[in-house]
Symmetry: C2
Subunit: 462 residues, 2 copies
């Protein structure tokens, strides 16, 4: 019976190569052109769970992409850990900004990852972090060190809102019953500063369309006399935030949780260098809601960001045209207690209300999800904390993340169990960006740390 | 010796077919991918001038696309008419909104053109209108009815700013010397309301780039904490016009010519139905600068229109990203006395000055040109007016156009002669838009009317 360190030493090359193969498949759920690849990825994940020792593995069809379910039940009287992850990835564009093709993984050293990092879309979010759990399971089953029951639920629509997973969870509460949910789809503060994510922001994602004249017009013959949908769209979007970067949608802040002085003081203790932050992004100043620090703005405060905008002539050279239509994709990050469907409705009502005469406005809600906060006094959190102590030699810091995993709050609602977010990525890993990567050290450290969670959770569970 | 009407009757099918062949070549000067086609078009135009009876025809190389020069000098003591036109066309996009391919001309009847119109990019702007002059010349030379000297100068860069034509004109003043310049690159009020364009707006066209972080970022991890270049760009553009749609750039209105009550009253007499205007564009209200009518807003007042905007994720589905860069193409239509280079400099200075900390802004001037006003008491105007009276049976109305032909004011400066704008297109011909077309009736009416201008101008020229 090997210990985890020596097992990793012996198998790390294979662990890397298996992940690289997984990363070669462009499982872009947002773009239907990649449908075959997304489904192929599901099959590879299913196969990997079988090999890792699950007794039962199923490819569960949905109205969208399949959910891979696997389980190994060793004793009904022992606790059950449900592992969640996703095998789909964000679109890679802008493709021209990648130093190497997004689906041809390469290993390169970086400042944060001198031991090398795997560069590929999905390396960190979430194929790499999801696969740590598969390899940890392989270790526990082959080395006879699985202390409790385990269930895996790996979906292919996380990047597009997990609509079908939500249905699946509601319809399979018995099958998915568990004592704790374990997810690695977040980050840690630094390699020498382990952290556990205790909060996630919610999300409301909408697409807006502004229509002016029924056809593109010559900007000389009509310019100045008709509403230009692009000019109008810029005015409408600009008006959504005031000079203090407060969001102006009526009712938007009604349920926003205000943290106490003490809580904010606690947060402020997390190691953070504004200078390094600005340097890493090559910006000369940060920008955001008045009255809050950078770490508050991106974690405990809601936001409104335009994720994409387009209209008119965007090709080479000049075209003197007034476009018939202009579009934008807008997302709002929400904090606990803000209901995403309420916020989406408030946005729609407000945005339609501010449209000037002479244009027609459509608001199409895309998807969303609730925010989430996990308590730090649960045995799940304690088990995770001890697991980090074993492998990092220090107690992890609880940290609110600005990101969203919309499905987490639904898990709690439907499955009545808490989620523990053990993330091993770094902010600098560029998830959702060109040149996304995942440190090899982080990948192996995750595989090393996860079995400890199972051990401590089982011991604490009485 | 045939008269023009019977000559058109005999040759109109050939006149149509020759234009259709010319329209099949995608001479898009803004897009370098079409370079070969633009040059091929120049050669076809050169050949058509030879066939139409020019004694000398030259393809004049420039740093860009060639200028076709042709002349027929019958007597140094007679006046000389210089015809200007362009063989390049606007890009056809958005291509999906065309009912038939933009470079596969088809003839269809429309409400305004029951006799049929030719649908193709460039049909009206300007291949069709330019070619009327070639066919009018053919008539005058073959039927021995050319009363004076004629020079043709047809360029291939009008849609991208005529930069090389400007050089060419400055360097060839002697060769281009003339007594009047004749252009058909504008419109007329209606088929039963002939009009002569007496004013054109100037143009300043710029492209702006806003850069935030040095890479695309995850909108969850960074949202709210860094300047989002798209949100910032919308705020910057929105601020360029106030609630009355006055342009806020300091100094922008300094030299704007204010028309007298009388002049505005004169303008107001031109036949115009706001209801039909709104109906044709399917808008429930017009939109523009407070205190001015629709016909004033699009002719005697300057404008600021976004012609294109893009940034972030614009594909299918959702991507939660903060883009590193956002872009816009912005054009300003200027009125007489506004110097386009001064306005461009004012825009650049102002736009850079309103950029918030946390972003970098670039303003790249594209091209521009001065506005133009032609007097209605010149013999050129009188000759044109009589020509219309002969063929339309009524006196044409002088009309300010909102469009720009930047080169016209340069002609006056360098060649010391006035330009007469005899346009035969209709506003509904959708120039610069999908489904651009040119009425067959208008095309033939132009060919019929133009020789009259030569006759009357020569008679009035003493």
């Amino acid at each position: 019976m090997q210990n985890i360190q020596s097992y990793i030493q012996e198998h790390k090359d294979r662990f890397l190569n298996e992940l690289i193969e997984l990363l070669k498949i462009p499982s872009i759920s947002a773009d239907s052109a990649y449908k075959k690849d997304v489904i192929k990825t599901a099959e590879v994940v299913m196969d990997s769970l079988k090999k890792a020792g699950c007794d039962t593995v199923e490819l569960c069809e949905t109205d969208g992409y399949p959910i891979i379910y696997g389980e190994k039940i060793i004793d009904k009287n022992l606790p059950t850990v449900l592992v969640y992850g996703h095998y789909d990835v964000q679109p890679p564009d802008p493709i021209n900004l990648w130093d190497s093709p997004p689906f041809e993984p390469v290993i390169k050293a970086t400042e944060a990852h001198p031991e090398g990092a795997i560069f590929a879309r999905g390396a960190c979010d979430d194929k790499g972090q999801m696969y740590m759990h598969v390899k940890a399971l392989e270790f526990m089953t082959t080395q006879n060190q699985l202390p409790c029951n385990v269930k895996f639920m790996i979906e292919g629509e996380e990047e597009v809102g997990s609509v079908n997973l939500a249905k699946y969870v509601k319809e399979n509460q018995e099958k998915l019953s568990n004592d704790v949910i374990l997810i690695s789809d977040t980050g840690m503060i630094a390699k020498d500063v382990p952290s556990i994510t205790t909060g996630l922001r919610g999300l409301s994602y909408v697409e807006v369309e502004v229509t002016g004249p029924n056809r593109d017009l010559h900007s000389g013959l009509y310019g100045g006399a008709v509403a230009n949908p692009i000019n109008v769209l810029t005015k409408m979007i600009a008006s959504l935030q005031d000079e203090n970067n407060h969001i102006t949608i009526p009712g938007f802040y009604d349920n926003v949780e205000e943290l106490s002085k003490e809580e904010r003081a606690q947060m402020a203790k997390a190691p953070f260098s504004l200078e390094n932050y600005k340097k890493a992004l090559d910006i000369d100043a940060v920008y955001g809601e008045a009255g809050y620090t950078t770490n508050e703005r991106n974690s405990i405060r809601p936001t409104l960001d335009v994720n994409g905008i387009w209209g008119g002539y965007t090709g080479e050279g000049a075209k003197t045209v007034i476009a018939s239509k202009a579009y934008a994709k807008i997302s709002m990050r929400l904090v606990p207690n803000q209901d995403w469907e309420t916020i989406t409705a408030l946005f729609k009502k407000h945005f339609e209300s501010i449209a000037p005469k002479g244009v027609k406005v459509k608001v199409n809600p895309h998807h969303g999800g609730q925010g989430y906060v996990t308590p730090i006094d649960s045995i799940g959190y304690e088990a995770a904390s001890k697991a980090y102590e074993d492998t990092f030699g220090k107690t992890p810091i609880p940290q609110r993340s600005g990101g969203s995993i919309p499905i987490v709050s639904l898990f709690e609602k439907e499955l009545k169990s808490k989620t523990i977010l053990m993330g091993f990525g770094l902010d600098s890993d560029a998830i959702h960006s060109p040149n996304e990567h995942f440190g090899i050290w982080n990948y192996l450290k995750g595989i090393e740390t996860i079995p400890g969670f199972y051990k401590h959770f089982t011991q604490l569970f009485k």
